[in-house]
C-alpha cells in the first residue's frame, strides 16, 4: 500500500512531464496556418542565435514570422497555466473549499478591472504599472470574497463562497465594461479584456510578470505543508503545532499575486485553477506538496492544449483560450458535482 502511494506520484510526475513536452510541441507546430514541421524545426533552431543577437530574426518568409510569433504565445500559456493551477490549488487549500478558482471567485475579473481602470483613468502604460494595477484589483477582489464570506465566522460553505465569487465577478465585469465603453483608446486595445487570451501579451509583459509568478508559486509552496495540516481541520492542525496563521497568509498572498499576474498577462481565464488540482487529487491523493508540484506541469499542459485547440478548430480565425477553457471546464465541473465524494476535500 505504502509503495503504491509512494510510486504513483512519481509515475504521475513522469506522465505530466511527457504531457507538458507534447503540449508545448503541439503549440509550436500546430496553428491556424499549416506549416511544414521541418520549417518549424529549422526556425526553432535559429532561436538561440536570435536571443544571442547573432541572428537578426528578420525573414522575408511568412512562415518564419508565424513560428516566431508562436513562441511567446507558448511561453505565455506555460507561465499563465502554472500560475492559475497553483493559485487554484492554494485557494482550495486555504478555504478548504472544492470550488476555489481564481476565475470563478472573481479574482481574475478584479485584476482585469484594475488594469482597465489604470489604463483608462490613471494613464498607466508600462508592463510594471499594468502588473501593479492587476495585483491591486485581485487583492481587492480576494479581500471582498473571502472577507465577506467569513464575516459571520466559521468556514463558508462551498455554495456561499461560489455565489459571493459570482457576484464579485459580475460587479467587476460591469466596471470593466463601463471603462471600456467610455474610453475610446482603451476600447481599441482592450475591447475584449473580459476574455482571456494567450496571444495578447508582449514579451515585455511576460518578462515583468514571470518573476512575480515565481514569487507567488514559491509562497504557495512554502505553505504547502500547512495546507496539508489545514485539511485535517484547524483544531487538529493546532495540536500538531503548525502555525496556521502564517502559512495561511503566505498562501493567500501567493494566490493573490498569481491570479493578478496571470491576468495581467493573459486576461481572465477561468476553470484552470479548478480542474487541475481536482484531477491531480484523483490521481495521487490529497497531499498538497504533490498537488502543487503536478499543477506546475499540468496547468501549462491544459492551457497549451486549450490554446492550440482554439487555433485549429476554425482556421483562419482563433477562439480565445479564455473561452476554450470554459467550454472544457464546465462539463468537468458538472461531473464533479455528480460525485459528492469529488466535492469533499
Amino acid at each position: 500500500m505504502s509503495t503504491a502511494l509512494r510510486m504513483t506520484p512519481w509515475v504521475a510526475l513522469a506522465v505530466a512531464v511527457v504531457l507538458t513536452i507534447t503540449a508545448t510541441a503541439a503549440s509550436l507546430f500546430w496553428g491556424s496556418r499549416t506549416i511544414e514541421p521541418s520549417t518549424v524545426t529549422s526556425v526553432l533552431l535559429r532561436v538561440p542565435g536570435i536571443l544571442m543577437g547573432q541572428d537578426s530574426g528578420a525573414s522575408a518568409e511568412m512562415d518564419t514570422a508565424v513560428v516566431l510569433a508562436r513562441i511567446p504565445r507558448t511561453l505565455t500559456a506555460i507561465v499563465v497555466g502554472a500560475a492559475l493551477a497553483v493559485a487554484g490549488a492554494g485557494m482550495q487549500g486555504i478555504s478548504r473549499n472544492p470550488l476555489g478558482d481564481p476565475g470563478l471567485l472573481g479574482l481574475s475579473a478584479g485584476a482585469a478591472a484594475g488594469v482597465v481602470l489604470g489604463l483608462g483613468w490613471l494613464g498607466i502604460h508600462t508592463s510594471w504599472q499594468i502588473a501593479v494595477a492587476a495585483l491591486a484589483g485581485s487583492t481587492l477582489a480576494a479581500l471582498l470574497v473571502f472577507g465577506i464570506s467569513q464575516a459571520g465566522g466559521g468556514a463558508p460553505t462551498p455554495i456561499g463562497l461560489t455565489l459571493s465569487g459570482a457576484a464579485v465577478n459580475a460587479g467587476f465585469v460591469a466596471v470593466t465594461s463601463a471603462v471600456v465603453l467610455t474610453n475610446q483608446a482603451v476600447l481599441e486595445r482592450f475591447r475584449y479584456w473580459n476574455v482571456g487570451s494567450a496571444s495578447r501579451s508582449e514579451t515585455t509583459d511576460l518578462l515583468t510578470t514571470a518573476p512575480l509568478i515565481a514569487l507567488g508559486i514559491l509562497l504557495v509552496l512554502l505553505g504547502a505543508s500547512g495546507l496539508n495540516a489545514m485539511a485535517l481541520g484547524d483544531e487538529l492542525a493546532h495540536g500538531l503545532g503548525v502555525n496556521l496563521g502564517l502559512q495561511r497568509t503566505a498562501v493567500f498572498v501567493g494566490v493573490v499575486i498569481l491570479a493578478g499576474a496571470a491576468t495581467a498577462v493573459a486576461g481572465p481565464i477561468a476553470f484552470v485553477g479548478l480542474l487541475i488540482p481536482h484531477a491531480i487529487r484523483r490521481i495521487v491523493g490529497g497531499d498538497y506538496r504533490w498537488i502543487i508540484t503536478l499543477s506546475l506541469l499540468l496547468g501549462p499542459s491544459l492551457l497549451l492544449i486549450a490554446d492550440t485547440l482554439g487555433r485549429v478548430v476554425a482556421p483562419p480565425q482563433e477562439i480565445y483560450v479564455g473561452i476554450t477553457t470554459v467550454v472544457l471546464g464546465v462539463p468537468v465541473l458538472l461531473v464533479l458535482l455528480r460525485r459528492r465524494k469529488g466535492m469533499a476535500l
Binding site: 471582498l144 460587479g171 460591469a174 465594461s177
Partner: protein
Amino acid sequence: MKAAQVHTLRRRQARRHTLLLVGLFTAVLAMMAMRVLLGQYTVTIPDFFRILGGERIPGATFIVMQDKLPRALLGAAAGLAFGIAGALFRSVLRNPLASPDVLGINAGAAAGAVTAMYFLGAAGTGLAWAALAGGIAAACLIAAVSTSLGAGTGRSGIVGERFLLAGIGVAALAQAVVMGLMTRLSTQNAQTAAVWTAGSLNSSTWDRLTLVAAVLVLAVPLAVLVQRSLQPAGLGTELAVGLGSRPGVAQAGALGLGVALAAVATAATGPLAFVALLSTPIAAALHGGKISVLASGAVGALIVVAADMVGAEMLGEARLPAGVITGAIGAPVMLWLLVQLRRGKQS
C-alpha cells in the same frame, strides 16, 4: 389571540401591501415621466400630450416617439419582468443570491440571441425568439443536470445546492459563448455589442416593447397566483405536503415562469446585471421582510428606468448603457446583502 384579532391583523397587512404597491407604481410612473420629459432634450407636458394625440411637431415628435417613449416603456416593462423573475426564483430557491442573472438565465438568453445573430443573421423579433430559446435552454440544462444528479443520492432535486452550482457553471458557459461570438461579429459599433454583454435600452423599439408587454400581460397574474401557492412551502416541504399543498408542481411552475420572464426581458434589453438580484431584497425590505412579486417587479422597473436615465442623460459626454450602471451600482449593494445574509445566519 382571537379569530377577530387575527382577521384585523391580516387586513392591516393586506392594506399595507396595497399601499406599498400604489406608492411604488406611482414612483415608477413618475420616473418614466422624468425619463420622457426631462434630460438633454426636454419636452413640455402639453407638447407631450399633443404628440401622443398624433400631432406632428418637427423634431420633438421623432425624439419622443422613436427614442424617449419606447425607452421608458421598455425599461419599465423589462425591469418589471426581471423583478418578478427574481422574486419567483427567490421564493423557490430561498437564497437571496439565487437570481436569474447569477444563475445564467440572462446569459443563456444573450447567448441564444448572439448565436442566432451570428449563424442565422437574425434581427428584430427573430432575435427575441432566439433569446427566449437560449434562456429556456440554459434553464433546461441546469434543471437536467441538477435533477439527474440529485436522483442518485436522494438529495433534493431542483431546489438543492446543485441547482445553484450548475447555474453558475451554465452562466460561465453562456458568457463564454457570448464573448466568443462577439469577438467574431464585426460590430464596429460598441453600443451594439454592449446590448448583449451588459444590457442597454439604446435599441428600444415598439416591436420589442410589444413582445415584452404581451408576455407580461399573461405572466403577471400567473406569477401572483404561483407565488401565493408557494407560501405553504415556506413552512418547509414536509409541513407543506401535510397541509395538502404540492410544492413540487408550484416550484417548477414558478421557476419556469421566472425563466420565461427573464429570457424575454433579456431578448429586449440584454442581460441587465443585478436587476433581478437587487429588486427582490429591496422590495422585501420595504415589505417587512416578506417577498412580494408585484413590489419586486415595481422596484425592478424603477431601477432600470433610473439607470437608463443616469447612463444616457446625466453623465455628460459619456453615455453608458443601462446595464453598466445597474452593474456598477449593484455590486456594492450586493456585497451589503452578502454581509446581511451572514449576520442573519449567525443570529
